[in-house]
Symmetry: C2
Subunit: 476 residues, 2 copies
């Protein structure tokens, strides 16, 4: 395996080439043999496990329970909700043969689980006492893609999908808000990825939803990445699937539903945002290895000290690993772990050992520190939190610098031509303007931020009256 | 929902009817809309999560890393290893349409991941320094079934599959032994399910393996359940997929491989073995709720005490839950939680509160105890361990009582006709005898137990010389 940095394209010069190479070289992922598929290698999958561990806690604390529904959805079931199937039909993988025989009814491989879950919900829910019904799944879904973009666009991906049913719309609304806020928290606190929480336009919302909330982040070349969504499904599916309950007065009512999802696409956003010309930079809270310990030479005293440091780190909750590969020079190993984005590198040689210190190098900014052996565990635990914060701040500055107001269509187009990024512009909310802007500039509405204030002004495209400044951007 | 016990068939009278009903009524699982599929409901899935948590720790401690490989395997790849595809071809689900178009190459939905993983292994492994390569997946697999038997036989099921590559056969052998011992430990210590560890016959081993080890348990009607397997793949796949490494002298060698799997079928074995006429009995270590606290009436003082007990239990690591449903009588709630198999029931009324005690009922044997409020957390933690042990012992007695020696074919057939269970019989290891025994009695070889001693004797079928006493049984 080659870790020579000279092989790596510069991130600033060719982002997608850099991205594809770094994902392979850092052994995060690989291509699968079927078109559009990917292999999550252990180093990449370990990031997802860390996400799962934290998010699963948050989901369970909210009273949502995990379950697992079948992968195969009979086509007739998937077709029950009209706008839903229209949205997903072009992306389906379809099983037509099972057990050596042509199937009487074709089976879709789930692109999402609304239909198969709600068929069961209609049987399970009878009374207001059965509500809220709140279920989450960690699973794999399939949406056909011809070209693979590792993590960001693949035929099969991993995610969680939450699906709740409530007695009132108010309760369902609160659930949607909880979900998108939970996602924002996970992005901000674990991924160090700032973004905007807001409502999608009618044209951009989920197939079958009344309202979609999303978390939108910004990638280095100025394209937006829709990073997680939460949907207020109203009573649309409830009416299609007859999910009714008797309220406490004995009257029949349809339930109010929500669904919300967060996928491994998030790891693509992490790589893009934080990486640099030397490779990955993984935020400490999601780093499978937070501190790599590199004995300069594999001398027995140094190795022994390295093992003691590793044990002391583990005791302090730091995920540490020794790399003492005797066939690789210290320079090679430094490059390798820089490329793999480990937040802190601890170098240890005979000289340091004599002085009772280690040399510590931050991956985020290259800063070198000399720390005494005794202080290392606590100081590095604190340093990791510092790095997490610094990486978030750096990304936040980028996001703010690349969110620009446009008060005319010329200005709008000029920003897109020169700088990309988010454009905050007044829009009349007529889908026709949205469609034309997309056609002419490839920029779509990303969301109306939750905290946006009402203004008096004119639509950036048609000039009719407009009240809200929506975020537009070209997007993944 | 109905929890009236009178609806439940007696386990001793109609095992499969009892089983199907209890799985549905206890809300462990439900049928999916496509034939052969099942829904893992939250209560059933929570058992699997507890298994995962413990087993994942054991797997990681052994140095095996988690990853995720694609669901879709191009047919050409699956066909590369001849005996492997022969074994799985009749069970495949095949995707022929993707993204609205007929596919150039059909994709099998993975029945297991040997082929797709080893194609990648051949690219990842170059040198002895890349070995051992040890990867595990927690995923879903599909093997076509026409009739569903919830947990026990379904088209799609959840499992883990470990796949390792080593430099020597010795190392691979040790890995197979580690895996089957780990499974036996999990079955014995978590599931309270005793069983036999042994080697499968050539006819019964995994398609593509040189040797298969299995853990065989015994269900109440005397049928064996193959509960987990570990395979020594030799160099079969290595040769087919060109997985070669340069050893430390620079010579090219093929790797030695293993694979091993453990599925949600295990939960079926748990239900079958431990349940009784009143419903489930879940061994405490796998019980999503270990102690249910039932306030006799929803009086404020009693509810307050119940919440205090719940908090004290949580502090002591006991998974506790209060059921104070005011629309259900105490009798109804007792039935409900008996049916759901919660190991310990804590009843609390005004009378008990006055005396500062609770009434504790063991689900395994119905024993009632009066425990002071102060002692409850520690005493119940100990009681749960007692119950776990008692359930294992009860199952172990059943296993031993139903493992019988047969020294003639008449005796063999008589045992099968009258009592079923495991039959330990000398067999010459000629596949022809095995085939005929199966044809005539439906009993198959289950395994040659690891601890079996060599004997001098004659094959129970053909009378030729035989050295080993194999276990035979009718099986799921």
């Amino acid at each position: 395996m080659a870790f020579a940095k000279k092989d790596l394209p510069k991130k600033s010069e060719n982002l997608s080439d850099w991205y594809n190479r770094i994902v392979l070289q850092a052994e995060l992922a690989d291509y699968g043999p079927a078109k559009g598929t990917m292999i999550y290698r252990p180093y990449g999958y370990a990031i997802w496990e860390l996400v799962q561990r934290e998010m699963d806690k948050l989901i369970k604390e909210r009273g949502v329970e995990n379950a697992y529904f079948p992968l195969f959805i009979p086509e007739s079931l998937l077709k029950k909700e009209e706008s839903h199937i229209e949205g997903f039909a072009p992306e389906l993988a379809v099983v037509t043969i099972g057990g050596g025989e042509k199937l009487g009814e074709r089976l879709a491989v789930r692109p999402t689980s609304e239909t198969i879950m709600y068929e069961a919900y209609s049987r399970w829910i009878q009374s207001w006492r059965d509500l809220p019904l709140m279920i989450n799944q960690w699973n794999n879904v399939v949406r056909w893609e011809k070209r693979t973009y590792l993590f960001l666009r693949t035929t099969e991906f991993l995610w969680q999908e939450g699906h709740t049913a409530h007695a009132t719309h108010e309760e369902a609304s609160a659930m949607v808000r909880w979900a998108i806020d939970m996602y924002a928290k996970v992005y901000r606190e674990l991924f160090a990825l700032p973004g905007y929480v807001g409502r999608k336009s009618d044209a951009e919302r989920f197939a079958g939803a009344d309202l979609t909330m999303s978390y939108e982040t910004l990638m280095p070349e100025g394209k937006a990445l829709q990073s997680a969504t939460a949907h207020d499904l109203g009573q649309n599916f409830a009416k299609t699937f007859n999910i009714e309950f008797k309220d406490n007065k004995g009257a029949s009512q349809h339930v109010w539903q929500t669904s919300w999802g967060f996928s491994t696409r998030s790891i693509g956003g992490l790589i893009m945002t934080h990486g640099d010309d030397s490779g990955l930079r993984i935020p400490p809270r999601l780093a499978p290895v937070q501190a790599v310990i590199l004995p300069v030479k594999s001398d027995e005293a140094v190795l022994k000290a390295a093992r003691e440091i590793e044990a002391a780190f583990a005791k302090n909750g730091i995920r540490a690993k020794i790399d003492a590969s005797d066939n690789e020079t210290i320079g090679f190993r430094i490059n390798k772990w820089e490329l793999r984005g480990v937040p802190v590198r601890v170098e240890l040689g005979a000289k340091e050992l004599e002085k009772g210190t280690v040399t510590v190098v931050r991956r985020d900014n290259g800063e070198k520190l000399s720390i005494t052996l005794a202080d290392a565990p606590t100081k590095i635990a604190a340093l990791l939190e510092d790095i997490q914060r610094a990486m978030y701040e750096q990304a936040e500055i980028f996001l703010h610098e690349n969110t620009r107001k446009a008060d005319s269509y010329d200005e709008f187009k000029k920003i897109l031509a020169e700088k990309h990024g988010f454009i905050a512009a007044l829009w009349c909310e007529d889908p026709e303007c949205e469609r034309k802007i997309k056609e002419e500039t490839k920029a779509t509405t990303r969301c109306l931020p939750l905290d946006s204030k009402e203004e008096k002004g004119k639509c950036v495209y048609c000039g009719k009256s407009a009240k809200h400044r929506w975020l537009f951007a070209q997007a993944y």
